[in-house]
Symmetry: D2
Subunit: 225 residues, 4 copies
C-alpha cells in the first residue's frame, strides 16, 4: 500500500567523484522492509533543475508515509541530521548540469525555511545507542542537499500531508578517501589549503544508520496511526 | 625463534578514556602469524617513566625482527605513518602517572631525532591498494607516542640491530566517538573550541591496516635474510 | 531624529571570558555619525531571557533606521555576515544566567526563520575592497547570536517596518587569544580536542568592518528615502 | 661589525601568490638596529636548489651573530616558533623552480634533525606579554621552510659557531586573505575541501613579533658576550 512506503532519495556522484555514499546507501536499502514499511529508493541528479522538477513528481508518484533524503557531507566525520532547510541557493562548486547558481531561492514563492519533521532526537539517541557517531545540525548548506531538503518539506507542507521528512548528510567511505589520496600522490600534489586525508565512515555503518533512522521514523508513524 | 617475531606495542587508555584503539588493535593481532612472523603484542602504560624503562627491557626480552608501535591520534581521520621521532618531551595533557612534563628530552644522552626504519612508502602503497586511508607524517607530537617511537629507534640503533621499527597513529573507533558524544549530550555541553564529533575508523579496518604493515615489513625482512 | 539612527548591539563577555570583541566594537562606534546616521550602541547580556525582553523594548525606544547586531564567533577567521536567523535555541554551553536551553524556539509563535535584510553582498564587496576578509554564512548557530538576530528581524517584521537588519559575527582579537594561550601555558594544559591557538583579527580592523557595514547600509537607506 | 649583525631571511612569494608576509616582514626590519644589533634582511627564493646554495654563502658573507628565518604558514592563526628542522624534503606543491621533490634529504651527509638554538621559550613569553598569539611547534613541515631551517642550523653547527638560529612561521595578512576570497568569488568557486576564508594576522603585528624575537635573542647574546 502506498501509505506503507518510505521514500529514500540518494544523490548521485558529483564534483568529479565516481561514487556517492549517499547513493550507495540508498541502493543498499531499496526494497527492504523496515518495521512494516517498504523502502522506495530513488537516485537524484545533482542538478537544481532536476531537484525542483523531480521531487514533487516523486512524492506524487510514491505517496510515501515518510521521506528521508541522503547526501554527501564532504569531510564530515559523523552522521549529520539536518534540522533546517533554508530557501536559499548559493553554490561553491558547479552542479552536474555545469550550472553555478548564486543568491537564488529554492522556490521564490515559498517561505524562508522549513524544519525537518523527522523524530531527530529519537534517531540521534538510537544511533548513539548503536555506537554510531551522529550530530544534529542547523545548517544543510546552500547547495543541492539543502535544496532537496527544502523542496521535500515544502511540497509536503503544501499537500498538508502529515508525512515526516528530513535530510541526512553522510561521510565519505574509506575506500573513497583512499582513492582521493592515491590521486594526489600520483599527481603533482595538492592545491594550497586542500586536503585529501579527510574523515570517512564504513558504508555498512552508514547503511545501519539510515536503516535505524527509517526504523525510528516508521515506529513513530506506526504508533501514531 | 626470536628472530621470527614482530614486537607490536599498543598504548593503554589515557586522558580519561576507557579504551584505546591502539591497545585493541595490538590485542587483536597478538599471537597471529603473519608472513612467517609471530606477533608478540605488548600493552604500554601511558607514562614517560614506563616508556623509558620498559621498552629497552622488552626489546632485550623479545629480540624482535621488527618493532611496530601503535598509539591513538585523537581526531585523526586516517592511518598515520610516522617518519620521525624527536628527542623532545612536552606534554599538552597529563600522562597516566599524573605527570606533566615540559621541554624535556626523551633521552638526554641521545641525538636530536631518529627516522623510522619501516618500509613506509611500501606500507602506504599497500594500504591505499586495500582502500585504507593513510598518510605519512613528519611529526609524531611531543607526548608519549613520540617518546615511544624515539626510544625504540634509539635502543635499536645502540644495539646496531638491523631491526626495522616505527610508529603508527590510529584514529578513534566509531563506538568511542559515539560514547564521547553521549557524554557531552548528557552533561552541560562542551567547553569552547572543543568538539566531540571527531573522525573515526572501524576497528576491523585499523586491524587490517596494522596487519598489512606487519606483512609488508615481514616480506621485506624475509626477502633480505 | 529617530529615523536617522542605526542601532548597533554588541554582546557582553560570556563563557568565562573577560572581553567580547563584539562589545568593544560596539563601544568604539557608539555615538559616531556615519553617512548621516548616528550610531546608538547598546550592550546586550548573553541571556535568552534578556534577549527576548530587551530587544523589542530597545527597538521601540530607539526607533532605528537600521539594526546591526554583533557577536563573537569563537575561532572564526573572518568577518561573517549572517544570512539567516532560525527560530531555534539549542545551547552547547551555558549562558550568563547559568541556563542551558535545549531544543527550544526563540519565539514559539513565530515562523521558522527570517532572512537578514541588510545589503549583505554590497557590504561583502565593500569589505573585500578594503582588504577585510569576510564571508556570508547561512548559519548563525543556535545560541544567543542567532536568537538575537531572529528576534530583531521578527520584531521589525511585526512592526511592518522597512528597517534593514542583520547580524555580524566577529573573530577574537589577538590580545585575547594571547591571553587564552597564557592561561593554558600556566595551567595543566588543554583538554583533548581543545585548542587555544585560534584565529583572530585586530580590533581596529573589526571596527572598520562594522563601520563599513553601517556606511553601506546607511547609503542604501539614504538613497531610498 | 660582523658580530653585531642578525641575519633575517624571508621567503619570496610562491604557490601562485604575489605576496609573502615573511618577505614583507623581512623588508620592514632590514637595516633596523635592535638592541645593538643591525638587521641584515635577505630574500630567499622558494627553491631547494637556491636554499642549499645560498644559505651557506649568506652566512659566510654576513657572519651573523644570530639567524632568524621567516616563512609563511598558510592558514596558520598564530606566530609559530619552530623547535626542530628535519633532514627531509617531501613537497605537497611545486616550488618556484617547478620542481616536485619527494622523499629526499636536505643534506644527504647530515644527521636526522637539528633543534632550533634561539631562546624559544623567552621569545614565546615576550610575545604573549605583548598580546601576540604564538605557539611552539615541533614540525616545520617538509617543504622549503624546513629545508631552510635545517640548512642554517647544519651550516652553523659545521662551523662550530655559537650562533643562535631558528625559523618562525607567520600567518597570512588580512589583505591577502581578502584577495584570495575575491578571486574565489569572481571565479567558479572553490575545489572541494578548499577554503579561502583562512586565518590571518596584521603585518604590523607580525613585524612586532619578529622584532621582539630579534630583541630577545640579541639580549641573550649580549648578556652572554
Amino acid at each position: 500500500m502506498a501509505d506503507r512506503t518510505v521514500l529514500l532519495t540518494g544523490f548521485e556522484p558529483y564534483g568529479g567523484r565516481d561514487l556517492n555514499p549517499a547513493h550507495e546507501a540508498m541502493k543498499a536499502l531499496d526494497g527492504r522492509v523496515i518495521e512494516g514499511f517498504t523502502v522506495a529508493g530513488r537516485g537524484l541528479p545533482v542538478s537544481l533543475k532536476e531537484v525542483r522538477a523531480r521531487l514533487p513528481a516523486l512524492i506524487e508518484d510514491v505517496k510515501p508515509s515518510a521521506v528521508i533524503s541522503l547526501g554527501l557531507g564532504p569531510g564530515e566525520a559523523v552522521i549529520r541530521l539536518e534540522r533546517v532547510g533554508v530557501n536559499l541557493v548559493d553554490y561553491e562548486i558547479r552542479d552536474n548540469d555545469g550550472a553555478f547558481v548564486s543568491d537564488d531561492r529554492v522556490n521564490s514563492n515559498a517561505q524562508e525555511a522549513r524544519f525537518a519533521t523527522l523524530p531527530l532526537r529519537a534517531i540521534e539517541t538510537a544511533l548513539l545507542e548503536q555506537g554510531i557517531p551522529v550530530r544534529l545540525s542547523s545548517a544543510a548548506g546552500t547547495f543541492l542537499c539543502n535544496a532537496c531538503m527544502f523542496t521535500v518539506l515544502d511540497v509536503l507542507a503544501a499537500r498538508s500531508a502529515h508525512v515526516p521528512a528530513g535530510f541526512i548528510h553522510v561521510p565519505y567511505i574509506p575506500e573513497q578517501v583512499a582513492g582521493m589520496i592515491k590521486v594526489t600522490r600520483a599527481g603533482a600534489g595538492l592545491d594550497i589549503h586542500q586536503r585529501a586525508d579527510v574523515a570517512s565512515m564504513e558504508l555498512s555503518r552508514i547503511v545501519r544508520a539510515v536503516e535505524t533512522a527509517i526504523a525510528v521514523t516508521a515506529l513513530q508513524i506506526g504508533g501514531r496511526t
